[in-house]
Amino acid sequence: MVSASGRLLEGFRKWYYNAAGFNKLGLMRDDTLYENDDVKAALKRLPENAYNERLFRIKRALDLSMKQQILPEEQWVKYEEDKKYLEPYLKEVIRERLEREEWDKK
């Protein structure tokens, strides 16, 4: 029962990921995050190659969006291949900010 509901949820997540549409522009989920202060700080901590790859994907997506086009299906980012590359750095930045705010309250 538990595994069936888990498979169902995973299937819904996969469907939702494709319905969102950013994978058709060659973007990963972390590419679409709105750049607030936390995300900006996390981006500064990215390794150079990860940052350059992100810039390439963004530039390609902006160009496709301008031309009202999407990538061929074989180039769409798959749900299984999507890497949350920014998440560890973002969590670290948020943790540090909260800790700083706690200290400032004292």
Partner: protein, 365 residues
Amino acid sequence: INNSYHWPTKPIRHLCLMKLWISTTHLLSFLQTITGIFLAMHYSPDISLAFSSVVHITRDVQYGWLIRNMHANGASLFFMCIYLHIGRGIYYGSYLYKETWNTGITLLLLTMATAFVGYVLPWGQMSFWGATVITNLLSAIPYVGDTLVQWIWGGFSVDNATLTRFFTFHFLLPFTIMGLTMMHLLFLHETGSNNPTGLNSNTDKIPFHPYFSYKDLLGLILNTSLPTDPSHYSSLTYCETPTTLHQPTLYPPHHMLNQNDTSYSPMQSYDQSQTNQEEYSLYNSPFSYYFKYLPYMHQNNEQPQFRPLTQILFWSLIANLLVLNMNRSATSCKIHSSSSDQYPLFFYFSKFYQSLYLLQVHSKT
């Protein structure tokens, strides 16, 4: 890198219809000011002269009919462009630029106020009763409501004092709007514009000329051709009480409940189905708070255009607004049955709470 350095250049993806609305709005505001100044040269803000001065403008002044109709229809076109501009802002998450968004909300309220006081000036039946109904809404405020309404009226009913001060406000507010528009653009240039992907486009920009200069020229051509289209000056439908009846009666006739003014579209539908002012004011507050607090309800980093649930909510809101407008401009002259207006209105007001719920739940997925 300071983002304001980039403002002379814009991302090429702005070359789409979305940006046409606001350049059209700017040109329309200029047209409204010019036509308004020419109207003010011949208009008299006195209850015994106002109506006949508008007739004089329409009949006797050289091209007065054109100036008057451009001003009246231009106001409707102005609001249509603004609603499209706001809809674009909601769909693509432009409300995340909080200062720009908040000045925009203030601009919307000022524009609605300007349109309202301007509608009173011809001093027709619609003018008088519209002024009476809308100003009476303030009486819903506890304790000071009635006093406030009489203070605004300048007397114990909508009369000459009200007309003269409304003329003053109608002349003054557009210049306030112009100043606030400059603030709106100033805040926008701090961040740079949004784009359909919601991505940071600082690495990929193009110069203003020739791309946007030519595109704004297109807006100018459309903007000057649409208000001069003679099909906009046809006689009113049989459902409307024309403003040509300038002797106000004691009570508003029932057939006046239908009108074709786009300024306050969903609210007027509600107005026709409710008689309780306190209820109306209470339910009206989520409408204004929805737009004002939209940036603060967005609790995660995800872009709304890549979230299917948010898209469904947005398009159901648009469909709901269209239903409300359809109910208002229906060809039947009968008084609207309460259910045909109240169900769409309930759905409309519940959007506020739906958004809160969806935005909070969605952030965890």
